[in-house]
């Protein structure tokens, strides 16, 4: 079916950009329908929330002033004086959390449905890199308001990097911009948060999405032999995607207005850590693990072992498509399903426990 381009403008554009080809590509894309189709929505949802982050982030840039003496005050100014400043900041914070949540859902559904099977290994690798980078966004962005909780969270977080043998101290100084968490750390995190991480993210995102376009939607193994009904991506599935986005957007706006994000107290390097201090929920499972580890395990410090374990865990997670030997032949591997479920349960239990503790 050849769509005819109606207006002259479109023809003009088509001659230069080749909309016709793009149109045909879009026409070709189909989404298979089955019991697990619902999980297809979460990647796009994460992308949508990322777009919200970019827009609100750029808006905040217009007023935010990095620096130990100005950061907290400028956020206060945004919240109190700038019109709708509280809303924009609140959306930025809430959306970050929602985005990380949908990313977790997307990642675990991909893992458990084994969508990383050949030929989608690189999609998985680029996706897990995006995962680490998004967590990096969460970590670096958290410090920017320069409040007490953020100050100590950053101290602890960077110190964990510091306990890693050999390279630790260098990484710590690189992150902190010195030996202590100071204004230098703040400007570093700011640079990472608003320029380095976005640039890397965009590159990875383009790769990730191109891979998905090239390979088409992955279908769980057990449906692969069947002839599945499909739905056109444009416009049918896309409209459903958009509906999903509207729902998240509604949830986001409600959360942001009903529970505006707190600013807290300004960081003071000469004040004790406040009681009941906790990191953001997405780091809570690591925090809780570190809390439970004894000071010494054998001859090693507990936290060194913990930090190493998480580092190795992350590596393992990224390389799963290559470690899962059956996946190489396009088969499902029981062991990896069980592993995925255990990891998921571990994260959930530790998060809830950490939250209640």
């Amino acid at each position: 079916m050849k769509l005819t381009l109606q207006s002259d403008t479109l023809t003009w554009l088509d001659d230069r950009v080749g909309i016709e080809t793009l149109k045909q590509l879009a026409q070709k894309k189909e989404v298979p329908l089955h019991r697990h189709t619902i999980w297809y929505y979460f990647g796009g949802m994460t992308l949508f929330l990322f777009a919200v982050q970019m827009i609100t982030g750029v808006l905040l840039l217009f007023y935010y002033k990095p620096g130990a003496e100005t950061a907290f005050e400028s956020v206060q100014y945004i919240m109190a004086d700038v019109r709708f400043g509280w809303l924009i900041r609140s959306i930025h914070s809430w959306s970050a959390n929602l985005m990380i949540f949908t990313m977790f859902v997307h990642m675990f559904s991909v893992f458990l449905l084994k969508a990383y099977r050949a030929p989608r290994e690189l999609t998985w690798v680029s996706g897990s890199l995006l995962f680490f980078i998004i967590l990096g966004f969460g970590f670096s962005g958290y410090l920017l308001p320069w409040n007490k909780l953020a100050y100590f969270a950053t101290k602890v977080g960077t110190e964990i990097a510091g306990v890693v043998p050999i390279i630790g101290q260098l990484v710590l100084r690189f992150l902190r911009g010195g030996d202590e968490v100071t204004g230098a750390t703040l400007t570093r995190f700011y640079g990472l948060h608003v320029s380095v991480l976005p640039a890397i993210t965009l590159l990875l995102l383009v790769a990730h999405i191109l891979f998905v376009q090239r390979q088409g939607m992955s279908v769980p193994k057990k449906f692969e032999s069947k002839k599945l009904p499909t739905m056109k991506f444009v416009p049918n599935f896309l409209l459903r995607d958009v509906l999903g986005w509207l729902l998240v957007f509604a949830a986001l706006i409600s959360l942001a207005t009903i529970f505006p994000w707190e600013l807290g107290e300004k960081a003071d390097p000469f004040a004790p850590a406040p009681a009941g201090i906790k990191p953001e929920w997405f780091f809570l499972f690591m925090f809780q693990t570190l809390k439970l580890l004894p000071a010494k395990i054998g001859f090693m410090d507990g936290e060194v072992l913990g930090a190493l374990a998480f580092g190795i865990g992350g590596m393992f997670w990224m390389l799963v498509p290559f470690l899962d030997r059956k996946a190489v032949n396009g088969k499902n591997h029981r062991l990896f399903t069980i592993l995925g479920v255990i990891i998921l349960l571990y994260i959930i239990t530790m998060t809830v426990w950490g939250y209640l503790a």
Partner: protein, 168 residues
């Protein structure tokens, strides 16, 4: 790499080096290898000279620590018994504690676990770290929770009403 090989082949031709291909084959191969290694070295050198300063730039310069011999941490009369106070020891926080007995002691306030700043707990008469529930006794010894080492202890001297703290 192919590109480079072809490039070096072009250079040969341009220089009129391969007018008699049959005779020159072995030596022309050698020349190619030579030129390749030249190219490779200069590429590496270029990259190294670009990245070396960048990496060095990213590592922050060492701040010379003001090796303060001693600081005034507070006034004896202002510190109630069974309380603690954070003071500045150079760029780092320290903590002085006036025990219930009236004796004063001082430590580095940086938790030996992961760097948080500790505080004095009046209820349990201990030094406490809120971050991961680490606890130290009033000799600075780590007695519970994750801290692996005792707090660094400072020397305390009282002259008149002023409490002087110095590194032991």
């Amino acid at each position: 790499m192919k590109e480079v090989v072809r490039l070096s082949a072009d250079i040969h031709e341009a220089a009129g080096l391969s007018d008699n291909p049959k005779e020159i084959v072995p030596s022309s191969k050698q020349r190619r290898r030579f030129i390749d290694s030249l190219l490779l070295t200069s590429f590496s050198a270029t990259f190294a000279s670009i990245f070396y300063p960048i990496i060095k730039f990213l590592i922050p310069p060492q701040v010379v620590e003001a090796s303060q011999a001693s600081v005034v941490a507070g006034k004896l009369s202002e510190l109630k018994a069974n309380t603690g106070k954070i003071f500045k020891f150079g760029t780092k926080p320290g903590i002085i504690v006036k025990k219930a007995s009236g004796e004063v002691c001082a430590f580095s306030a940086t938790c030996t676990h992961l760097n948080c700043t500790v505080q004095y707990r009046e209820d349990s008469q201990e030094i406490w770290c809120a971050c991961h529930n680490g606890r130290y006794d009033l000799n600075g010894k780590n007695i519970a929770g994750p801290p692996p080492r005792p707090l660094e202890q400072f020397e305390v001297k009282v002259r008149g009403d002023e409490i002087f703290v110095s590194k032991g």
